[in-house]
C-alpha cells in the first residue's frame, strides 16, 4: 500500500513521475520540438501507413500525456473536442482533472449481497462509452456454485428468468487497480501507468496496440478495440476525461478507470451508483473514516489471486 502520498500535487500536467524524466529527457528535449516534428515528417512519409490508418497529423505527433506541457494538453483537448463534435455532432467535455490530494482510491464488493443482475455491467458501458459492437464490457459477473470458488467452474453467460438463483453466488470482476500492477510494468512504451490516486489508466493516443498488458493481466481487466468502436450517438456520454471515457479509436487497449471522470470530481463510480443491492463500495483508503477504510477495518476482506502479489485495491468481502 502506498499510503504516504505527497500533498503537493496541485496540477496533473506539471506533475509527472520522476522516473519518467530520465528516459524521456522530457524537459530538455521539449524546446527542440520542431526538430522532432521535422524528423517525424521524414519518418511518416516513409511509413506511408498514415494513409490507411486514417489519423490526423496532430494526432500522429501527439506526445505521451505524462510528458505534455499544460499548453500541449490544452491544444490536444481542443483538437479532441473538435474531432468528437465532427464525428458525433455533440459538444464534449474532455476533462484533465488530476488526482485529489491525499487520495488513494479503493473499492470493495460484498459478494454476500451481489445478486448477479448485471446492472453494473450496463451502467458501466453507458457511462464509459464502451463499444457495443464488438462488445466491450469492463465488468464480468461470474457465477459460482455454492461451495466452490474455482474460476474454471464459473460462468459469465448465465441467463435465468430471475436472479439470484438458488445454489449459486455471484462475483463481479473488473480491473483490480493493483498496487503492484503487472500490466503497467510490461508496457513497452509506458502508455499505461498508475496515477497518484491509484487509478491505472491508459493513454489511448500513446498505446501501440501490442496487447502485452492483456497477456499480463490475471483478471482480464483489459480490453482491446479490435475495430472502430460503435457507440450509439443518442446515449453517448459527453462528459469525459482524457484518461477515462472519451471515445476510443480502433486497435488500442482500454479498461476500467474507476470512472475517473466521476471520481476525480467527487462522484461515485457509475457501478456503485447503479448497484440495486448496495454491494459496491468505493472511497479513499487514506481516509480512516471512509466507507472503504471501515470495511477493511471491520470486515474480513480478501483480494483475488492474492498469491500473485498484485496487491489489488479492489477488495471482496462478506458482510453479515
Amino acid at each position: 500500500m502506498r499510503k504516504n502520498q505527497s500533498s503537493d500535487t496541485d496540477s496533473f500536467a506539471g506533475d509527472r513521475p520522476p522516473a519518467d524524466q530520465a528516459i524521456a529527457s522530457g524537459d530538455a528535449t521539449r524546446p527542440d520540438l520542431p526538430d522532432r516534428r521535422t524528423f517525424l515528417a521524414g519518418a511518416a512519409s516513409v511509413l506511408g501507413m498514415l494513409a490507411v490508418s486514417s489519423c490526423s497529423w496532430q494526432e500522429f505527433v501527439q506526445n505521451n500525456f505524462q510528458r505534455m506541457s499544460k499548453e500541449e494538453i490544452e491544444q490536444t483537448v481542443d483538437r479532441l473536442r473538435r474531432e468528437y463534435k465532427e464525428k458525433y455532432g455533440k459538444d464534449f467535455v474532455v476533462g484533465t482533472e488530476g488526482p485529489i490530494d491525499a487520495t488513494l482510491f479503493g473499492y470493495a464488493l460484498d459478494i454476500q449481497r451481489c445478486i448477479g443482475c448485471r446492472k453494473c455491467v450496463y451502467a458501466c458501458v453507458e457511462e464509459n462509452n464502451q463499444s457495443r459492437d464488438p462488445q466491450i464490457q469492463y465488468i464480468r459477473v461470474l457465477r459460482f456454485k455454492d461451495g466452490d470458488m474455482d474460476f474454471e467452474h464459473a460462468t459469465i453467460y448465465y441467463d435465468p428468468e430471475e436472479v439470484p438463483e438458488d445454489g449459486y453466488y455471484y462475483m463481479p470482476v473488473q480491473c483490480q487497480h493493483c498496487a503492484n500492477a503487472p500490466c503497467t510494468k510490461v508496457c513497452p512504451v509506458r502508455a499505461t501507468w498508475t496515477e497518484k490516486d491509484g487509478i491505472v489508466v491508459v493513454d489511448y493516443n500513446w498505446c501501440i496496440g501490442c496487447r502485452y498488458c492483456m497477456a499480463a493481466c490475471p483478471y482480464m481487466g483489459r480490453w482491446f478495440n479490435f475495430k472502430e468502436p460503435v457507440i450509439p450517438v443518442e446515449t453517448i456520454n459527453t462528459t469525459t476525461h482524457y484518461l477515462g471515457n472519451r471515445p476510443r479509436m480502433k486497435n488500442v487497449v482500454e479498461k476500467c478507470t474507476f470512472c475517473i471522470q466521476r471520481v476525480r470530481v467527487g462522484k461515485y463510480p457509475a457501478c456503485v451508483e447503479i448497484c440495486p443491492v448496495g454491494a459496491r463500495k468505493f472511497g479513499n483508503l487514506l481516509d480512516p473514516d471512509s466507507e472503504i477504510s471501515k470495511i477493511i477495518r471491520n470486515k474480513r476482506v480478501f483480494r483475488l489471486k492474492s498469491e500473485l502479489n498484485t496487491q489489488p485495491k479492489f477488495y471482496y468481502f462478506f458482510a453479515t
Binding site: Y268, N284, E291, N298
Partner: protein, 198 residues
C-alpha cells in the same frame, strides 16, 4: 441473511418490546415519551438532518395519519393478538420474522403515528425507522451506519444520500425481491464461425 438465526434474537427482543409496550399503555407515560422524543431530536439522538442525510418522508403523503383510526378513543382498539383476517391494510402481507412478529411489535400501540420506542422509552418517528430496525438487526444497523451495508449515492468525499432500510426492504416483507438479470455478454468469436465482414 439467515432467517433461522434471527428467530431466537427476534423472540427475545419481542418479549422485551411487548414488556415496554405494556408500560407505555399509560397515556401519561406516552406523553412523557413524546416529550422525550422532541428533546432527543434537539440534543443527542441521530436525526435525519444531523447524522444521516436520509429522505425525510419515507411514507407516502396520501396515507392518512394513523391516529385518525387507531388510538384508545378510536374505532379500533389495541389488539395484540396475531390475526390473518384484517379487513383494512389488506395490501400488507406480513412476512417478517416468521409468525413471531405482529404489527404492534413495531408500530406504537397507543399512537400509530409513531413506532415503538427504544429501550430508553423514546418513541421513534417514521422517518427514523432505521432506529427501530436496529433494535433487532443490530450488526446490520451498525454496518449501515458505517456505509458497509446498504446503498449510498452522491459523493464519495462529500454529501451522500443514504438509502433507508425500508427503501430496499419492505418492512412487512423485507426479503429483497428477485429481479430479471440484464442480458449476458455476447460470446467471443470462435474459429468455427466465419468471421463477419465489417
Amino acid at each position: 441473511m439467515k432467517p433461522k438465526m434471527l428467530i431466537p434474537l427476534v423472540m427475545v427482543l419481542t418479549v422485551g418490546i411487548i414488556g415496554a409496550c405494556i408500560n407505555l399503555s399509560d397515556r401519561a407515560a406516552y406523553a412523557q415519551s413524546r416529550e422525550y422524543a422532541e428533546e432527543m431530536k434537539e440534543i443527542q439522538a441521530p436525526t435525519s438532518e444531523q447524522e444521516f442525510p436520509v429522505p425525510l418522508r419515507p411514507l407516502p403523503k396520501t396515507i392518512t395519519p394513523c391516529r385518525a383510526c387507531h388510538g384508545p378513543e378510536k374505532d379500533f382498539p389495541v389488539n395484540f393478538k396475531r390475526r390473518e383476517d384484517i379487513l383494512v391494510h389488506s395490501n400488507i402481507r406480513l412476512n417478517h420474522g416468521g409468525i413471531r412478529l405482529w404489527c404492534l411489535d413495531c408500530h406504537h400501540p397507543e399512537n400509530r403515528n409513531y413506532l415503538l420506542p427504544l429501550s430508553d422509552g423514546k418513541v421513534i418517528e417514521f422517518e427514523q425507522s432505521y432506529l427501530l430496525c436496529g433494535k433487532c438487526h443490530g450488526t446490520i444497523y451498525r454496518d449501515w451506519r458505517d456505509g458497509i451495508h446498504g446503498k449510498r449515492t452522491g459523493s464519495w468525499n462529500g454529501q451522500k444520500n443514504y438509502y433507508l432500510c425500508i427503501t430496499c426492504h419492505d418492512p412487512h416483507n423485507p426479503r429483497f425481491k428477485p429481479m430479471a438479470p440484464m442480458p449476458p455478454p455476447k460470446k467471443p468469436w470462435t474459429p468455427t464461425e466465419v468471421r463477419a465482414k465489417h
